[in-house]
Each structure stands twice: as C-alpha cells, then as structure tokens.
C-alpha cells in the first residue's frame, strides 16, 4: 500500500511539472477561449438585460459563463484520447507490468491537470473579482444570503463531484478502445452531448423543471450544471443535498461501469499495437 502511495505521489509531481511546463501553450489556448467567450457573454448579457423572468441579472449571467468556462478549464479532457491511444498502440502493456494499479496513473494525471490549471487561472479569477466590483459584490451577496461557510462547502463538494465524474466518464470513453480501433467517433459524440446537455452553452436551470430533474440522473449535470448553479447560489440547501446524493450515486454507477470495462478489456488485451 505504501508503494502505491509513493508511486501516486511521484506520478502526481511529474505530471504537475509537465503541465506547468506547457504554461505558454495554456496561455495561448486561454486567450483564444477568452475571445470566444466575448460573444457568448454579450449575447446572454443582452438577454438578461431585456428580460427578468428567470431571476438572472446581467451580472449573474456574465458570472455564470465565467464560472462555467473556469470549470471547463479545470476538467481534463485529453485523458480519454491518451488512454485509448495507449490501448490501440499496445503501449498499455508496458504500464501493466508496473508495481501499482494502472488506473492510478490516469487518475493522478487528472488530479495534476486540475491542480495545475487551478494554479494558472486562480490568480486571473481573483484579479477579475477584485477589480470588478459588480462581480465581487455578487458573490458577497450570495455568501450573505446562503451563509458563507455552507455556500463555500456546498460549492467545493459540487465541484469535486464534477471533477471526479468527469474523470470517470473520460476514462470510460478511453477504455472503449479495447473494443474498437477508432474511439474518436464516440468521443466527438460525447462532446456534442456534453455541450447540449451539461449547462456549458446555457444556464441549465433555464430548462423546464422536469428536464432538469431528468438531467440530474446523468453525469453531464454534475460535470458542469450543478457546480455552476451552486457557485451562483441558485440551489437551495435541501435541493443541494439531494443533488449531491444523486450525483454520488451516478458517479458510483459510472465507476462500476468503468471497473467492469477495465477488467473485461484487460482480460482480452493482447498488446498488439496498430
């Protein structure tokens, strides 16, 4: 067990140094993302300014999309591609002989990814909220209404659940390579469903209540929708507890599927790379 922890620590520190080493590439991507975000922010700001039915103020809607993009930055999305490539090329064989469970490697990779991204975007977010009083005041009001500690712990729980859920789902997508040569088809499909249903393109609570309830039985809701809504203080305490419990259940089921796919895949894996 100690060897496993030691290996995990080593992988984590290596991955962190790799991720932080490519910080310029990250800055480049972040800059492009920011340009793309401008259109979305103005569209939704115009929408919130024109109407008032849903309780979203102009500041609230802008914050929603800033929060949503930040959450997306924290979520490792390339892990499924690298895992499926390892399986397809037979490189997985080299990892299997290592003296620790293989899945430890991508899990540490995912954690390192989120931590490195947090280190990089954290100061930017802090600067935004320090220097833009309207955004800062928005969060001060949310903390005051909901109780600072309760709101913060609820948010951290929702965010952690989202990151775990993302990791489990992405790993499962990568494991499809045990059964198919090309996994980019399902990956693209997943990405488009994620965009349509997770709340990254629109605030998910604008959908009718039954639709939100149905979505809460899928991982998509926990990967984006719930953390975004909790950050904005749009989920009451009771509802949050119910969502978190349901989210844990969804994640556990997804993890079972992941483990099943892994065991089944490794049994028939022949280390023949193509």
């Amino acid at each position: 067990m100690r060897a496993v922890f030691k290996a995990a620590g080593l992988i984590l520190s290596q991955q962190l140094s790799v991720q932080l080493g490519y910080r310029m590439a990250f800055v480049q991507v972040a800059l492009f993302e920011a340009i793309g975000l401008v259109g979305t922010l103005f569209y939704w700001r115009a929408a919130a300014t024109s109407g008032s039915g849903s309780g979203y103020s102009a500041a609230g809607i802008v914050i929603y999309f800033i929060v949503a993009s930040s959450h997306q930055i924290l979520q490792e999305s390339g892990i499924s591609r690298s895992l499926s490539m390892d399986i397809r090329t037979g490189k997985l064989a080299a990892s299997l002989v290592r003296p620790f469970p293989f899945l430890l490697q991508p899990v540490c990779q995912g954690i390192a990814y989120s931590l490195s991204r947090l280190l990089m975007i954290g100061p930017v977010l802090v600067a935004i909220f320090v220097f833009v009083p309207a955004l800062r005041d928005f969060f001060v009001d949310v903390a005051r209404e909901q109780g600072g500690v309760i709101w913060l712990s609820g948010y951290l729980a929702a965010l952690s659940l989202g990151l775990v859920c993302n990791l489990v789902v992405r790993l499962s997508l990568g494991l499809l390579a045990f059964d198919m040569t090309q996994t980019w088809g399902p990956e693209l499909l997943f990405m488009s469903i994620f965009f349509a249903l997770s709340g990254v393109v629109y605030p998910v609570d604008l959908l009718p209540v039954p639709a939100v309830q149905a979505l809460s039985w899928t991982p998509f809701f926990y990967m984006q929708g719930l953390p975004n809504l909790v950050a904005l203080g749009r989920v009451s305490d009771g509802a949050l507890t119910a969502y978190l419990a349901r989210g844990c259940l969804v994640t556990v089921i997804a993890t079972f599927i992941l483990v099943f796919m892994w065991r089944r895949g490794v049994r028939k894996f022949e280390a023949i790379g193509i």
Binding site: A25, V29, V38, G39, A48, S192, F195, V201
Partner: protein, 274 residues
C-alpha cells in the same frame, strides 16, 4: 499565359473530382464514422438552438430587436455556412500545419497549381457533413419563409452574395489561424483559436456594445459569417452598414490570401519528424 491558366484550371478540376470521389469512397467505407459525425453535428445543432432559444426566452421573446424566429434563422444560416466550410475547406486548411512540419508541403508545391488550390485538390472532402448541411439549409429556409422577409430579386441576390462572402470570410479566418504554422512549429493552437473565434459570428450584431459591433462589422468582419446576411434580410442593418461590412469582408479575404502567399515563402522544407 492565358493557356497556362486554363490548363491549371483543368488540372484543378480534374484532381478535385478525383479527390471528391476518393473521399466519398473512404467515408462510405467507414460508415460508422458517418453515423457518429451525423449524431455529433446533430447534437451540436441542438445545443446551438437550445442556447439561442433559451437566450431569447430569458429576454422575454426578443433580444435587442431580434425576434425568436429571426434568431433561429440566424442560427440556421450560421449552421449552413459552417457546414459548407467543413465539407469543402476544413481538411486542406486544418491539415496545413502537419504538411509543413512533416515536409509534405514539398509535394503540394510541386503541383502545377496555386498551393491553396493544390491543398484543396489533395485533401479530404468531408461528405460526412452533407446531411447536416442539408438539415441546416432546410431549417434556414423554414425560418426565413416563416418570417416572410421583403421579397425582390435584388434583395435575394444581395443576400446570396453576402452569404457567399460570409463563407469566404470563414475561409480567410482559417488561413489567418493556420498559416502561422509556416513561421513556427510551436504555433500549434491555430485550430482551437479558429473554433473559439468563429462562434462570435453567430450572434446578432446588436447584442454587442457599439465599439465591439463596429469591430465585428468593419475591422475583423466576423459578423459577415452569418449575422450580416441575416441582418440584411430582416432589415436589422441598413444598406450603408451592409456595404461597408461587405467591403471590409473583401479586404479581409484578400488580406488573408496575401498573408498566405507571404507565409508560404517562409517554408523551408525542413522535416521536423513530427
């Protein structure tokens, strides 16, 4: 000179026809990919319409003067332009960095055609996106007919010209994003940059603050990709604005071609082994 041009054109059409039939053959062989592409694009279309529609609902039925149907028509028109670009232009331009890095550009430059035409004639034509092109086109026609804009041959002709210019602007933006690969291998995020920036063209111009609106219309005319043709048809923009945006679009396209011609001269035929 005239004879040489005619011969080049003949060569281009001959090779392009061959590329088209090869692409169709390859894509039809991988039928499952066709299905995945169709589903992927359909979910993206759904998320675009959901995002646009929920924004209008939040605004109370119209957003800065654009009705729900007009916003939907704009979304569909953007889809038409996007799918046309994907079908015919995405592969040659997005493969460009790889061609530069692995020295395959040598083979492109040896063809008796302009490098851009040679790239087009030797790259895949994404027939997988034809069904979604047709769906977007049908939706655009449906919403435009529903709104019943002012008819008249000159209006429709101008609309068609603006739509074509919009596709050319999309093409030009892709050149600006991908051609820097001729200068530095590390400029690898051009594709991400394109996808982030291109989305801004799908929003009604009136949602932007005046300064940003002018930039989008007259400086970097991204709105020409969909918002200007739609705005012209629905009388959201006057003739003067449209003419200025169109002129700016022509300059943008010519500028991109000049940039490509300048960039291609930096090609050193050095294989980085990537």
């Amino acid at each position: 000179m005239k004879q040489q041009t005619a011969s080049s054109q003949r060569s281009f059409f001959r090779i392009y026809r061959q590329a088209l039939s090869n692409s169709a053959g390859v894509m039809l062989a991988y039928r499952s990919n066709l299905i995945f592409f169709f589903l992927f694009e359909s979910f993206f279309l759904t998320s675009s319409f959901l995002g646009a529609g929920l924004g209008v609902s939040l605004a109370g039925g119209s957003i800065n003067g654009w009705s729900r149907d007009q916003v939907f028509a704009l979304t569909a028109l953007n889809g038409v332009s996007h799918q046309f670009f994907v079908c015919f232009f995405i592969a040659p331009l997005f493969n460009l960095p790889e061609y530069v890095w692995n020295g395959r550009m040598d083979y492109i430059l040896q063809k008796p055609l302009h490098p851009l035409l040679a790239l087009m004639a030797t790259s895949e034509i994404m027939i997988s996106n034809v069904p979604n092109f047709a769906i977007n086109l049908a939706l655009a026609v449906y919403f435009i007919l529903k709104i019943a804009p002012p008819s008249g041959a000159s209006v429709w002709l101008a609309f068609g010209l603006l739509g074509s210019l919009g596709i050319a602007v999309r093409f030009a933006l892709a050149i600006f994003c991908m051609a820097p690969a001729f200068f530095a291998e590390r400029l690898v995020e051009g594709e991400d940059g394109f996808w982030s920036i291109v989305g801004t063209g799908r929003f009604p111009t009136s949602v932007f603050p005046r300064a940003v609106e002018r930039i989008m219309l007259y400086v970097i005319p991204l709105s020409l990709m969909a918002a200007v043709p739609a705005g012209f048809l629905f009388n959201r923009l006057d003739w003067q604005q449209v003419a200025m945006a169109g002129t700016s679009g022509c300059f943008f396209v010519v500028g991109s071609l000049l940039f490509f011609n300048w960039a291609v001269r930096s090609y050193k035929s050095v294989n980085s082994g990537l």
